[in-house]
Amino acid sequence: MLEALVNGLVILLDPMRMVMLMAGVVIGIVVGILPGLGGLMGMALILPFLFGMDPYGGIAMLIGVAAAVPSADTFPSVLMGIPGSSGSQATIMDGYPLARRGEAARALGAAFTASMIGGVIGALALTALVPFARPIVLAFGSPELFMLTVLGLSMIGVLSGSRPLRGILAAAVGLLIGLVGGAPVAPEYRFAYGELYLYDGVPLVVLALGLFAVPEVVDILARGGAIARADLGVRGSWVKGMREALHHKWLVVRHSLFGIVIGFIPGMGSSIIDWLNYGWVVQTSRDRSQFGKGDIRGVIAPESANNAREGGVLMPTLLFGVPGSSAMALFLGALLIFGIQPGPALLRDDLDLVFVIIWSLALANIFGTLLCLALSRPIARLTFVPFYYIAPVVMVIVMLGAFQETRHWGDLLLLLVFGLLGWCMKRAAIPRPPLLIGFILCPLAERYLWMSYNLYDWDWLSRPMVLAIAALIVILMVGGVVIKRRQAHAVDSAGMDGRAGTEP
């Protein structure tokens, strides 16, 4: 294995392949910055050019895209509150409030540092876990996957801030929207009304852009001025953000590992990973008062996880030929173009290639985040430019991002509908993340519940992993309530001089 480790690096250090890797990173950063476009789009762009290319170079390029996107998509998430891609939604929760306080550079600095460390940890973990990957992946059957969706749903309370009831309402609406389209366990189309566009259900990117991007653009325009409130001035630098990320090093490590593990398990999809991480950091923090208002930990946790995730989702892709995310499905296709059949045989016969992939991942993460750090100062200035200069461009990009999903006019119509819904929810102070989570988890929950029942009747309820995850859910929920009570008590006895409510 050590030999393959060195071989992999030697193969990759070929200058042409390094150029390809860098090209992939640059493409990844561009599609990452554009809201709505993610790794899937970046990979689809370069796929046609892969025929006849050097396999190692082509793979390095694809990995470059995959690794750079979750770093670069932090820009729109932090600067405008617009999800940069479906994997970077949770960053808006605290990153955007920081930008509005004029601390965009600080948020970006922290995010990129966490991304870089997370990405490298992802690559390391991939190396360390190669021998154990099979048993871990095989341990998650349909019943275990169902329990993971329940774990995700249990975080809705935490993500609803001080209005849990409204959060649950929003989540229910999300679950309802998730029902549209082909049913997961029957050849039946629900709420599609014979409209072919709706057969595939509502596209996640369109929903996310509608809910978050459109209301934000409208509200900033209505308020006038720039994204950052001018009265606060420029505060915090990216060096400060970097230092904060390093200060919270255990948080970075913890969420990187969590990101890898969830990415590892095929069948969960990657869009839920950052929300699970965000929910977890909120649930386990003693002082929750600043979450949603600009707590740097709310940026660090999802950003560590979403870069580390790329290491995780590679595992099932390489080992089982089962894509861990939609971008990985494309990567799988690219491997087939090069005549590489993923599967357990790959680890036995072509370990060099596996290490080329791992090295590409590590190097692309480092290059990608350094490039993003270099870009963060000039780009953060955008938050001080009067927004009416930027708004038309942003709207065009958002619409383009939505439209590339299926290139059907329905995308634009839905963007409008969800934009209106998002704006109403924002006005009525109904939290929007629960809606998104309900939407993402709806088909998964339904599918895995039915499959568990079909496979094992009700016996699945007594499987050890199911019970373990159930216990974890209870601990997280009860623990969260206890911590909150204790904190409220402490604030009371300290005579209300806590940090809560001191926001200028």
Binding site: Y199, G321, T406, N454
Partner: protein, 363 residues
Amino acid sequence: MSVRIFVAAAMVSALVLGINRPAMADAETYYEGKTIRIIIPFSAGGGTDTFGRYIAQFLGKHVPGNPTVVAENVTGAGGLLGSNEFAERVARDGLTLLTASGHLNLRAFLGLEGLRLKLDELTPVVAAPMGHITALNAKATGITDATEFLQLRGRVTKGITDPVGLVESIVALEMFDIEYRAVPGYGGRGDTRLAFERGELMVNTQSTPAYLARVVPMVEDGEAIPLYAIGFIDADGNPARDPAAPDIITGPELYQQIHGDMPSGPAWEAYKVVANLVQNTRGTMWVHSDIPPEALEALRRGVEAMVQDPEFIAAGEKTLAGYTVISGAGLDQIKDELDAAPDEVVTWTQSLLTERFGVRFEN
């Protein structure tokens, strides 16, 4: 020297013949300066996409007039959006082709609700085969000999993705008259294989390349055994081995080993039609039959030249996974088999899918 003279003479005579026949001459110039658009109704990176892009890469070089060839993924509704666009909204000028999968062809053949593609109005330009192999989880069932397969007892689980997409494996189980429990909800064949490896599913059918790469290691560890290949049906209606896995016996052969006779009845009739339809056309490039004859001729010539191109053959070794591209007479056979398929097979397969899985058909 003499060979070179012969080739030169042949080329000159071909040229003369070509000029003498008007349709032929038009075929030489029809695609000059034009762009052929290939609709791929599935997302980038999948098997059909890979095949479509492989052909797209070489076709322009060989079709007379050297048209530009562009492949475009028009995805949505399981291939319905792209297929319907091709069926209803493109000009019949030979400038638009459709890359279909075997299962998309089957959907059109059976008349699935919502799909407007009519195979009898189309002509195949080029196709590629791919076989399928069914394996049994030896660890979970305790069966280690394929001929004891019918003694399966208890919960025989088979993972279902989209029933129409698994039809060859379902029809095979029907032929063996196996009682099984269908578990719908899997996202794709990869997911079912993972569940098979986990011991959730007892029987599992994979494409032959996927079987060779990912199930064979399980077989080597004694966790699984190969049961049968779906195999192909030759022109006389007899089973033929899968060229990529010639050592694995076909379903009908296994049936004969167990029962002593070849299978018979509606399930076997359906097997014969479905096996070839799905597997011979796993990648098919279709064009409308009513395009100008010179366009059809130019495409035919282009494909004939393309399959001779050593670069095309070398690139295909990987993409085609051990199979060879079907052109010329092989395409005529595909068309003939489609035309000759008895109506009873269509109704029998439709009612199997409707009664067991609730799939709805147009007629």
